[in-house]
């Protein structure tokens, strides 16, 4: 490789050169056809290779222009990864998926932010349409917006409300205690009583008093809390609000951004302030001012609790008795390694944000916050027959991979895949969440047979899951009951073939890596699972219904 070509290629990629040298290179490009051809060839292939490895484009503007906001308007999915994708053009659904996932800090330009908010609004509208198309008509009071997913010492003015109750448009008063309310859009609202609330629609509430903590997933940005003092708009992802009647509204942004606005008394103006991460403010409506304050002043607003998982003391022994080939309790980590419970179980390595902390029941489990756990080297996988058993408590976010079984270390060629998903548009289930079990032989990046178990209200609840396949017969069990099955046809097997196992994400993005604040370099993970996982066991045989039921019944109240 001659020096000019090396320098030209380096300069093209941003390498620093003096202006004079760049002029020389341009001159040679203009006058030397062989050089021009060699350089043009390299740059062309470089561009293609970068495009091939890049994420799909986020053409939100095009989607808006064309009105392509309903990815479920046609059925089919050429790659089989994406239920509800528009046939022959999976990019669109991925565009929307990316928009849903895109964290606020990366929404750079104002028009992109606007597009995201517009899309979020459209998605909410679509969710509503999906609700209607699915035959679930909203009631006269305005329809179900979500439900009560957890409560602790909660006393409601309406005594009939309990965990699982549907939340509808209208007032709701929590006299004391606390409760979490999950919206179908994925927003989670944690309320500490006494609190006076009014649910106006799926992205807006009014609060006259109380302490709130709001977690807004990507794609649902723009959730609004109206207060007597002013308006708080979430721009993603987690904030706390305290409304003291007759005093002020105080706001703290824990992650992401929020906008505070209030009307200035005596004039038509509205004062606004955008708060970034770890910033707080007090809205004083009477004076028309937004006063900055340290976030610590609002630390009393509790963190949103994940429900606890309590298993009978002999659960581990029950699992071991069933003879798993691999078994991780996911209750501890040493360094970056998660050890297994049987001799042949390989160590799982931590890739990114996975914590091992106690839940409200005192049980330790793996809390996936964007990271994954994966084996460090290929293992021999059972093959024709296998079962996967685990406990999951998912956050109401977009699709997230629970378990990937693949033939390559970057998880591009799956033969088995389990994910928690809310991407079921087109199936008539609107924004409902579901567990998906994919079986694919031969392994690859598309095709295969899916079992989908769609139901609303999967998120923020612990469920016992078993997925299993026996020579092409697929079954899914939830909490001890079979809830889905499919025939994938005869399975060519693959017993003894090298297998890579990953928990917590679909695959690694081939576009590259990300550098963490501590200097470590991690792969970019696609469709990370957000939530908790416990007691992951893999068997070389299908489990019997009795075994599954017995394991599921080990959960204590």
């Amino acid at each position: 490789m001659e020096p000019d070509l090396a320098d030209a290629l380096r300069a093209y990629q941003g390498g620093a050169f003096p202006e004079e040298r760049l002029r020389e290179l341009v001159h040679r490009l203009r006058t030397d056809s062989a050089f021009r051809e060699a350089f043009g060839d390299a740059v062309w292939i470089l561009g293609l290779s970068r495009l091939a490895q890049a994420p799909e484009p986020r053409w939100t503007g095009l989607c808006e222009e064309m009105g392509w906001l309903n990815p479920g308007s046609a059925a089919g999915d050429p790659r089989g990864e994406n239920p509800g994708a528009v046939e022959g053009f999976e990019n669109l659904d991925r565009v929307l998926g990316e928009v849903r996932r895109e964290p606020a800090p990366y929404v750079r330009a104002w028009w992109r932010r606007a597009a995201v908010l517009a899309l979020a609004a459209c998605l909410v509208l679509l969710a509503g349409l999906g609700w209607m198309w699915g035959g679930r008509q909203p009631d006269a009071a305005g329809g179900g917006l979500g439900d009560v997913v957890s409560a602790e010492g909660a006393v409601w003015e309406n005594r009939s409300i309990r965990v699982g109750s549907e939340v509808r448009v209208g007032p709701l008063k929590l006299l004391r205690g606390n409760a979490s309310i999950g919206f179908h859009s994925g927003v989670l609202l944690f309320v500490e009583g006494p609190a006076d609330l009014e649910f106006r629609d799926s992205s807006r509430i009014w609060c006259g008093r109380g302490r709130l903590r709001l977690r807004v997933p990507p794609g649902a940005e723009g959730f609004v809390i109206d207060t007597p003092e002013g308006v708080v708009t979430d721009l993603g992802t987690e904030l706390g609000v305290e409304i003291a009647p007759g005093r002020s509204t105080r706001l703290a942004v824990y992650e992401g951004k929020a906008e505070a606005s209030l009307r200035v008394p005596g004039q038509g103006g509205v004062r606004t302030e955008v708060l970034g991460e770890k910033q707080g403010a007090e809205l004083v409506g009477a004076q028309g001012v937004i006063r900055r304050m340290p976030i610590e002043e609002l630390q009393g607003v509790g963190r949103i609790p994940m429900p606890g998982l309590r298993l009978a003391p002999g659960y581990r022994e029950q699992v071991l008795e069933a003879g798993p080939v691999f078994y991780w309790r996911l209750d501890r980590v040493e360094g970056d390694q998660v050890a297994g419970e049987t001799e042949g179980t390989p160590v799982l390595w931590k890739k990114g944000a996975v914590d091992f902390v106690e839940d409200t029941a005192g049980t330790r489990s793996a809390w996936f916050r964007g990271g994954a756990l994966a084996v460090g080297e290929a293992v021999d996988f059972p093959g024709e027959k296998y079962a996967v058993e685990c406990w999951l408590c998912a956050e109401p976010m977009s699709s997230g991979g629970v378990l990937g079984l693949a033939e390559d270390d970057r998880f591009q060629r799956h033969f088995g895949y389990v994910e928690f998903t809310n991407r079921l548009a087109g199936s008539g289930h609107g924004q409902a969440s579901a567990l998906r079990f994919l079986h694919r032989r031969p392994a690859g990046g598309g095709g295969g047979m899916n079992v989908l178990v769609p139901q609303p209200g999967l998120a923020y609840r612990w469920h016992h899951w078993v997925v299993q396949q026996d020579s092409g017969r697929l079954e899914v069990y939830q909490d001890g009951k079979r809830v889905g099955r499919a025939e994938a046809g005869s399975d060519p097997g693959g017993a003894g073939a090298p297998c890579w196992i990953q928990l917590g994400a679909l695959r690694e993005n081939l576009a590259g890596t990300k550098r963490m604040k501590n200097g470590s370099v991690l792969p970019v993970l696609e469709r990370p699972f957000l939530g908790r996982m416990a007691e992951m066991a893999i068997y070389s045989r299908p489990l019997s219904e009795q075994e599954i039921r017995r394991h599921a019944q080990s959960r204590l109240p």
């Binding site: 090396a6 380096r10 941003g14 390498g15 050169f17 740059v43 292939i45 293609l48 091939a52 503007g61």
Partner: protein
């Protein structure tokens, strides 16, 4: 011939108000437009922004597309105009490197346009397969974004010099080119 007939039918459907028919056109031609733009622009954000602007402009002026015309060529014509405006901005406001890239694009643009005709969605899939078949070190260099000083830091990680990293990249690009030709032929 068959492809052009399909394109004409899709255009007619769009003009009659069937917006979804435009999906088919986007699916078929967007990869070529992106590849064409990616050869001129280094920043992929800018590539996708201009590709999107190109497609929106095409949709809005679809009634000006003449029957029998090469739709891909027509789209690249719109993209070329977008690029020209982009580079005018670059010349006014950007630094040395951007001006260098703009000069390169000016010299090489015609050659790249011919190649863009051959790029469809499968080409990017093929490219991924070719990258996967590269030797380890080359694959690592290709997967890394050698933007700015990244070449130097990757050289440190690989225990070599920045010059050697760019040499490796050049060799990898040649292998990818050959692999793409081979894959195209089969």
């Amino acid at each position: 011939m068959r492809v052009e007939e399909d394109v004409q039918q899709m255009v007619e459907r769009v003009l009659k108000g069937d917006g979804d028919a435009f999906l088919g056109l986007v699916h078929r031609y967007a990869p070529g437009v992106r590849a064409y733009l990616a050869s001129h622009l280094y920043q992929l954000d800018a590539v996708d922004d201009l590709a999107q602007e190109t497609l929106i402009a095409a949709y809005r002026s679809l009634d000006r597309f003449r029957q029998g015309e090469d739709f891909g060529g027509w789209l690249r014509g719109i993209a070329r105009n977008k690029l020209r405006k982009h580079f005018e901005q670059v010349q006014k406001h950007s630094g040395l490197m951007e001006r260098f890239r703009a000069e390169c694009a000016g010299v090489l643009g015609d050659a790249w346009e011919e190649r863009a005709e051959e790029v469809h969605g499968e080409a990017l899939q093929r490219m991924l397969g070719c990258i996967g078949r590269l030797p380890d070190r080359m694959r690592r260099v290709v997967r890394a974004n050698l933007d700015g000083s990244r070449g130097e830091s990757l050289a440190e990680e690989l225990g070599t010099t920045a010059g050697a990293v760019y040499q490796l990249q050049y060799r990898a690009l040649k292998m990818l080119r050959d692999c793409m030709k081979e894959a195209h032929g089969t």
